[in-house]
Symmetry: C2
Subunit: 324 residues, 2 copies
DNA sequence: GCCATGTAGGTCATGACCTGTCCTAGATGA
DNA sequence: TCATCTAGGACAGGTCATGACCTACATGGC
């Protein structure tokens, strides 16, 4: 059944390999005549996939970059690699592609064979903490559920731990998943409280959609991100960091990344760093990893943290008195 | 042309969305009769894609997890997110899926539209250094080229900086790209030197395939990874770390990840960490991020590094004397 | 300069199969 | 109980995919 569609998919899969395929070899693999292969390649081209052909004795076909993304045909290991990569990316929303990576993760996990899902879990558990700071990492599966419920307009029930440790059960209509700083937030309508609320994703436990589809509620504001930012600003203080770094501005900007704030040169050997510091631990480790001298002017909390860190490092570095 | 294939692909794309699609809506979107939609869904099922259907008044179709990976149909942003995630994953080969992620990256970058490629470059530049340690990060594009040349058996020409800074041009026949520790190595036959060599990927500059395809050379050993490890062992010393951590063993194992080594409990409050420490900087930062007391017994180099780090942190934490 | 080997594409006969339009059966929630 | 969805059989008509054979053209090795 639908012989040709399966063959076109297989052809697309073969052409995505980074090598050149002679038409005769493709014909052999797909068990059709070379003429049909040529026709299939024409078909792919008409569908918008730019199949490049190099002529001559050592020629062959390969898929080039075109105007649109062709369907990606992955083997098991590649799928696992992508899932793991997306999970770590979702756990560290520092990009400009936060929600896209969660969407892609949702897509992938929806169709990921169960045996692979297990491998993803194991590998992600071994990988995520390596990149994490002191932040409580978000469970990427939670993010996937939240994003799915928001996109699907499904009611969502979950347990929520507030800042003081109290746990409540919530019934909500999710509207959008957004990032602010280095955290994920769910903007949703809380049905019991009859108002819009902002939930920190890392405090949401055991979310599951109720299956009830609801019409889109009028959002509280045009821009969900702005609404979340406003809510946060009123509750949690955001530190503003000012530091002098003894390294040329260009190097600092390159090694800290764009999200760290602005870097202004002071002279050829040092520069000033200014920016929001949503988590002190993360910024401290970044600064230390630069490997150069630096001074922190603001905030005092960061100085205190660095002092404690330095003392702990010094204690750890002492020649041990115990044997082992 | 090839109307049905395009429709099946579009159908697959729609079904990958995390929502349920009634057959009538699918028929409307794809501009065919509902009967044809049902037939298409049958076809997909025969091709191995498990389309789940919920019956009843609010029913619909959706794609579930099956035995094999269906072709992933991504929009622009999702493709960019995956590419960025894979780049950072490739730059930090700590997993068990190193080469798979490079393969997937090669596949993706081969077909990524150029306008998206640009966005990937920008975002990756802003993201990679955030996660990087003091290590010189590898250029993921270099990795992609290396892996492609090895898979395609193409001769590869590149510039190589040795440890003392000398730069030479090499003409090689790449055999395999492997990871050892937290670095990438290329195992290749050096044609000018007429012998097998191991190249550090981060020291390879400006690689480009010559286009010359060569038959597979007899590899120096069964296992490329073992060969690389042997080569490295003879040249670079590998530290063995021993540390006492004042935290329960379970927590340490979970937060350091599997690649950090073995964790044995000492008592309820502390444990012993043993393992290879390929890079001191990385391990030091991981230990500090645990947020607990710890003592380093071996190697002395790690103690020295921690001491210097602690002193630097202490200096940075002092109340600044300059105004700003 | 020649030849082998690859892509590119035209034509034609045959028959498979895709499609829309009927139809009925079964499941499910309001 | 009824509306609404999935599931699937029967049938007629015509599109179009396939293989066989052909020529034209590009390229690299000899």
């Amino acid at each position: 059944m639908s012989d040709m569609s399966a063959r076109l998919l297989a052809l697309l899969s073969l052409l995505q390999t980074p090598r050149e395929w002679p038409g005769s070899e493709l014909a052999e693999r797909l068990e059709v005549s070379p003429r049909t292969i040529r026709r299939d390649i024409d078909r792919l081209r008409e569908l918008g996939y730019p199949v490049q052909a190099t002529m001559g004795a050592v020629g062959g076909y390969r898929l080039a970059a075109g105007a649109a993304m062709p369907p990606l045909l992955l083997d098991d290991e590649e799928a696992v690699a992508i899932a793991v990569g997306l999970r770590t990316a979702a756990a560290h929303p520092v990009d400009g592609i936060d929600e896209a990576s969660v969407r892609a993760l949702a897509k992938l996990e929806q169709v990921l064979p169960s045996r692979l899902r297990h491998r993803v879990g194991v590998l992600a558990a071994a990988t995520v903490p390596m990149l994490a700071g002191a932040e409580p990492p978000v469970d990427p599966r939670t993010l996937v559920v939240l994003a799915g419920a928001a996109a699907n307009r499904e009611r969502l029930r979950f347990a929520y731990r507030s800042g003081d440790g109290a746990e409540t059960r919530r019934l909500t209509e999710p509207y959008r998943l957004v990032t602010a700083g280095r955290r994920w937030y769910l903007l949703a309508y809380d049905i019991d409280r009859d108002d819009w609320r902002v939930f920190r994703a890392d405090r949401i436990g055991d979310p599951h959609p109720t299956g009830v589809r609801v019409p889109a509620r009028v959002p509280p504001e045009q821009d969900p991100a702005a609404f979340v930012a406003a809510k946060l600003h009123s509750s949690a203080p955001v530190y503003e960091v000012v530091a002098t770094v003894r390294l040329p501005a260009g190097q600092v900007a390159g090694r800290l990344g764009a999200a760290a704030g602005t870097v202004e040169p002071i002279d050829d050997h040092s520069c000033r760093l200014r920016g929001p510091a949503d988590t002190l631990e993360w910024l401290a480790s970044r600064l230390l990893m630069l490997g150069c001298e630096f001074e922190v002017h603001e905030p005092p909390e960061l100085r205190a943290y660095l002092g404690a860190l330095g003392a702990r490092a010094a204690r750890a570095a002492q020649t041990p008195t115990i044997t082992y």
